[in-house]
């Protein structure tokens, strides 16, 4: 194969040690590229439709900056703690890794809780996914991100279980690294939701 193991002496991070791991990590990066295209399409849809509110409420009627900021800070912090988890992993500290993963998970769960509350609140105000093109595209864009975060929580849980069972192996290390990429990526997507959906919706 093009590059054999000898490029990677023992000093390399554990997650890059095997050929399989290196392929998987690269593959996941490519997948993230596809995810960018996916979210871009959802953003495009939202931005084309968000002023088409029909008889329903407008962005200015609905959004409240306080809730949004709480969600944003939760997710931003979780991205940071997720980075710390990988940092601990590279220092080979299993407990540190587990603790930071757990914190990340909890912050993620907090984010989801607030988001669900926000959605329920909207529905109570009569703003449902069926009300208008704006709300359809809002719920689907933000909901797709939320679904990704929820999936990430489930996935991270599986990896924590495997870490507890097996400790550090090239395989578990690679999984932690990949889930961390996923998690940071979701934060990137949220930054754009924060900017293009909420802030834009409130200033326009």
């Amino acid at each position: 194969m093009a590059d054999t193991a000898h490029h990677y002496d023992e000093t390399m991070p554990l997650e890059y040690r095997t050929e399989e791991s290196r392929l998987n990590i690269l593959g996941f990066w490519i997948f993230l590229g596809a995810e960018v295209a996916l979210f871009a399409t959802l953003f495009a849809t939202y931005l084309v439709l968000f002023q088409r509110t029909g008889h329903g409420p407008t962005t200015a009627d609905l959004f409240e900056i306080k809730d949004v900021m709480i969600e944003t800070l939760l997710l931003l912090t979780s991205s940071f703690t997720c980075g710390l988890a990988v940092f601990e992993m590279r220092r080979r500290r299993l407990t540190g890794l587990l603790v930071w993963l757990l914190v990340t998970l909890l912050l993620g769960a907090g984010f989801i809780t607030f988001e669900v509350r926000e959605f329920i609140h909207y529905v109570h105000e009569g703003a449902t996914i069926q009300t208008s093109a704006f709300l359809s595209s809002f719920f689907v864009l933000v909901g797709t991100h939320g679904a990704h975060v929820s999936l990430g929580i489930g996935w991270m849980t599986l990896i924590i279980i495997q870490l507890l069972q097996r400790g550090f192996t090239p395989r578990t290390a690679r999984k932690v690294f990949i889930v961390s990429l996923y998690w940071h990526f979701l934060d990137v997507v949220w930054i754009f939701i924060f900017t293009l959906v909420y802030l834009t919706g409130m200033v326009m």
Binding site: M12, W29, L32, G33, A37, A40, L47, F87
Partner: protein, 99 residues
Amino acid sequence: MGANHHHETFPWKHIVGFILSLVLTFAALWIAFSSGLATKAILVGIVVLAVLQAVLQLFMFMHVTESDSGKIQTINMAYSFFIAIVVVAGSIWTMAFVL
């Protein structure tokens, strides 16, 4: 390469990254609500800040240039941004005629 991570004992890079992302977030907030700029200028400002923060995450947290596939990873991300801009700006532009 990631090798040097072994020698670090304190996550400086992450902390700096985190603080920067907080700063950028609150800067966007300020521009949006307190700067008094025209709407267009606000939009440009906050989008620029968002892009900056995305780049920050990519480099400081995700280490996009890391490993011997770093080049591929970077090109991949750059190309995906190109596609994103095409899809978003292109759709807005071509659909602008619809009332």
